[in-house]
Symmetry: C2
Subunit: 281 residues, 2 copies
């Protein structure tokens, strides 16, 4: 089995981005700036937000993390987002998910100015992606494509299987794969026999949020598997949606968890923030 | 072969809409109003615009058709659209496609206020649909679902094949079918062997814009085929994307062209306009 690690891709692209950041700093008179809003004290969310801030620093951006208690009112968060929307030196705004229950996803997704929505969650940005005029890349799907491109894996003309249909991963990923001339099979928890459909895929993308779902009988030999899942067990061990033991001796390529899709997602967030900054002034 | 004609569906839904219109007229003090912009003198576009205006009249709406010459500037059209956006008694605005070359789809799709975009072409409305919070139904995909529902055809748990990946039909239709718990196969002109993938579909939706593309070897017996194509030959005869002769003796159900998807599309336009009006005042 070949492991498609994010590490060399991120190293290469970070170095490129750092150089581009140096150039844009001269033009803007400041570094690209990312504002992150973190609500509550979910440990995983804290880890993700720290990683994003660290990655931003490494490519020469400035960033800030704005923290709110988990019982903050929707209006108080909205007020702060509006200030950030109108603040010229803020290029990108990200509201870390998951949200506490008093903040509804369908409302919050409309708050960030689409031009600063570097997480690509605003419906207008999803729509622009689907209609073929993306303003930003959706972070996880975009990161997956960068990873496959780095390893020279062809998408064009292939049959791809996407497992999952979320608004954040499954649907935008399917849209990007179609625009790269892949033929699409998309299955989910209501698919009666997902394994047999999935087995038709030359490339398989599993974003089901179901630990160890994808087993050997879902795959044909020689396939490429992208694992978007992330699960922590009691001992802190991180695994994905693929049952790696069952496929250990299958000739194929796989993105590892951790160290595969996750770091790529952060890389796209940074590249989107750079894009937003480069559209300023 | 069973023909799934739009006629009884449209008759029933039009009568229901007429009754609802009577009720909303009392509340609003006016009828729901649809403004249609027609640019140039394309005969097919004129026919479609006339049909929409007639259908609006039959359900008790008022409508207007605003005509521009084919060489009108983008700015002049935009100015008029902005006036309609701010005109309180205009509920729905539709800019008839195709557009002349000086008007670019990616610009024009952002002009109509999303709250009045009853054609459901604004990226924000496409994004809301994809993220599971539709503001309006996309006209053609929404009409297809109404047609299938009327005839008691189940989507849930079925394998569906969508042929085509346009922003107007293929992609939003795929999104709606997934949200109805279908498993999806989506193929297009870059699919090496579309017929064999398509043959897995219990329901097949052909929106390829390719006359007579779908032949008997693309289908399994007992399938349901929805034909979104519309082609006029020199003699004025209208046919779809299905080669109906080749499938004449196959046990299956098919939407006719004309008289299938087309009238359903107009019905959804009217229902969207009613929805927009009902959100006023």
């Amino acid at each position: 089995m070949i492991l498609l690690s994010a590490k060399p891709v991120v190293q290469k692209r970070r170095a490129e981005l750092l150089a581009k950041t140096d150039a844009i700093k001269k033009r803007l008179g400041r570094a690209p700036h990312l504002s992150v809003i973190l609500i509550g004290d979910d440990p995983a969310s804290q880890v993700y937000v720290d990683r994003k801030a660290n990655a931003a620093m490494k490519v020469g951006f400035t960033s800030e993390t704005i923290r709110f208690p988990k019982d903050i009112s929707a209006n108080a968060v909205l007020k702060r987002v509006r200030e950030l929307n109108s603040e010229k030196k803020v290029d990108g705004i990200l509201i870390q998910r998951p949200l506490p229950p008093q903040l509804r996803e369908k409302d919050v997704s409309l708050w960030v100015d689409p031009a600063k929505d570097v997480d690509c969650l605003h419906p207008e940005n999803i729509g622009l992606l689907v209609t073929g005029n993306p303003r930003f890349m959706p972070c996880t799907p975009g990161g997956i494509l960068l990873l496959l491109d780095h390893y020279g894996i062809t998408i064009e003309g292939k049959t791809v299987c996407v497992i999952g249909r979320s608004a954040i991963v499954g649907k935008p990923l399917a849209s990007l794969l179609l625009s790269r001339n892949a033929s699409l099979i998309q299955v989910h928890r209501s698919t009666p026999d997902a394994a047999s459909l999935c087995k038709l895929g030359d490339l398989v993308f599993v974003a089901a949020g179901s630990k160890g779902l994808l087993k050997r009988n879902w795959l044909k030999p020689g396939s490429v598997v992208v694992d978007v899942g992330i699960h922590r067990d009691g001992a802190g061990k991180i695994t994905g949606d693929v049952d790696t033991e069952s496929i250990a001796d299958l000739p194929m390529a796989l993105t590892p968890v951790p160290g595969g899709v996750g770091p790529m997602t952060i890389q796209v967030l940074l590249e989107n923030t750079f894009t937003a900054a480069s559209r300023q002034g």
